[in-house]
């Protein structure tokens, strides 16, 4: 009937490192990241693109990785929460989330960090409302969002200050 191979080999760059792997037709980018590359930071929440817990940066744009077929990402560059900051040197966003107490259960935080980084990369001085808009696709059932917004505002300030010092 068709000449589609059930498995396809793809090459993708994740957090700066190239990986060559075989993927199934119905495998999502989220499945690939979590199960094959062992990057468990991106979370499997709703599975339908509504909760934002699986958000990653794909070729410069934030996407719900649960709705992207892995087979379509050949040659792409992907950044997950593991590619932002390090245990030794936290990203200002991670530092601010800790300092403001914005993390409770933590399940939504990787997606929040990715969406917030995407905002701050293009808008270093957002208003509170712009932060709310940028995080509209990220659901948090614990915090009530106030401290998350404060954390992003604080991170923006930290990043502006460190840029000015440099």
């Amino acid at each position: 009937m068709s000449n589609v191979q059930s498995k396809q080999r793809i090459n993708i760059q994740v957090n700066g490192e190239w990986h060559s792997t075989e993927v199934e037709g119905d495998e999502t980018l989220l499945d690939l990241l979590r199960n094959k590359l062992n990057l468990k930071g991106s979370k499997a929440g709703c599975g339908t693109g509504d909760c934002g817990a699986c958000t990653v940066i794909l070729d410069g744009k934030i996407v719900p990785s649960c709705l992207v077929y892995a087979a379509t990402t050949n040659g792409s560059e992907i950044t997950t929460v593991e590619g932002i900051g390090s245990a030794e040197k936290l990203h200002p966003l991670q530092q601010a989330f800790i300092q403001t107490g914005a993390v409770q259960c933590g399940f939504c935080i990787p997606g929040m960090i990715i969406a917030a980084k995407n905002l701050l990369d293009s808008n270093p001085s957002p208003t509170r409302n712009e932060v709310r808009e940028a995080l509209v696709g990220n659901i948090c059932r614990c915090t009530g969002y106030i401290r998350i917004i404060e954390a992003v505002m604080m991170a923006a300030e930290l990043m502006r200050n460190s840029k000015n010092e440099a």
């Binding site: 037709g25 509504d50 996407v63 709705l67 077929y69 379509t72």
Partner: protein
């Protein structure tokens, strides 16, 4: 259910594949509609053809008074396109009403139209712009009105070896404005209970309605349609209070909104009337302010 995926890199690859396997395949690009449906077992897919790598169907351009939108243009790219001025407010407002930023980065214009259901925001908007769609196969390309493309709930006039390639519409004339309102159970990231799109043109000399197009989701059946009787009554009017009242009454008689688990028909009808009044007044105000 397991399924296979084919990711064509060129139009040739795509059309050759569709000629052989079109009948057993489903087309996706962002898959933001189909993949959740597959996961919920509402849809069976044996082979998916993912078009997201075909850059040649991704553009928004203006040519000789016609706006052309490639079907694989993402919602983000459509909303932010500089080709569309402020008068295309209906499209600009999708930044507030259509899903979330990550979903808008992969959901496509063609996918939203081809999904052909009552919850698709782009259908009423493009209906009021009198849009046409271009369907392309290996051997030919045909252009049909959007209203003929949308045949019913999840049913379009695309044949198995065709793809929805382009959406086009005439540029709005001066003294025109289009807007869109959507009411859901919360403000953002929600399927609409009622949505209404409206394009209004005011005649420069008389100050009266020169052209008006109104489309709602769930008018008679389960797909968005134009409210043609309401449009008729508004044409040539100055949109005074009694005319707006009359238009609301006609809209109520013309609509056949249904109740479901999201909202009652009565509620939907009241909201639709309010949206009609609000959108018409808003469009008129924006035209006068320009």
């Amino acid at each position: 259910m397991r399924h296979e995926i084919f990711v064509p890199r060129t139009e040739n690859e795509l059309f050759n594949f569709l000629d052989l396997n079109g009948a057993h395949s489903k087309l996706v690009s962002g898959a933001t509609d189909l993949l959740p449906r597959i996961k919920r077992r509402q849809e069976e897919a044996i082979i998916l053809v993912d078009l997201s790598r075909l850059g040649s169907f991704r553009y928004v351009k203006s040519e000789g008074g016609v706006i052309r939108v490639g079907a694989l243009t993402t919602l983000t790219d459509l909303i932010r396109s500089e080709v569309l001025g402020v008068e295309y407010e209906a499209i600009k407002k999708l930044e507030l009403t259509f899903a979330s930023p990550p979903v808008r980065n992969i959901a496509t214009v063609g996918g939203n139209l081809a999904a052909s259901s009552s919850s698709e925001d782009l259908i009423p908007i493009f209906l009021t712009l009198d849009a046409r769609v271009s369907l392309k196969s290996a051997r030919k390309e045909r252009v049909i009105p959007l209203v003929e493309f949308i045949r019913g709930k999840r049913e379009t006039s695309r044949t198995n070896n065709e793809i929805l390639a382009e959406i086009s519409f005439n540029e709005l004339k001066p003294n025109s404005w289009c807007t869109f309102e959507k009411i859901g159970r919360r403000e953002r990231v929600i399927i609409s209970l009622v949505s209404l799109a409206c394009t209004l043109a005011i005649d420069r000399n008389s100050g009266r309605v020169g052209d008006v197009k109104i489309a709602l989701n769930r008018v008679r059946g389960k797909i968005p349609e134009r409210a043609l009787e309401t449009e008729k009554i508004l044409l040539g009017s100055d949109l005074n209070e009694s005319k707006l009242q009359e238009a609301c009454e006609i809209l109520e008689s013309e609509l056949c909104l249904t109740s479901d688990f999201r909202a009652s028909a009565k509620y939907r009808t009241e909201v639709a009337k309010n949206l009609l009044r609000e959108c018409l007044t808003h469009c008129k105000h924006c035209i006068e302010e320009r």
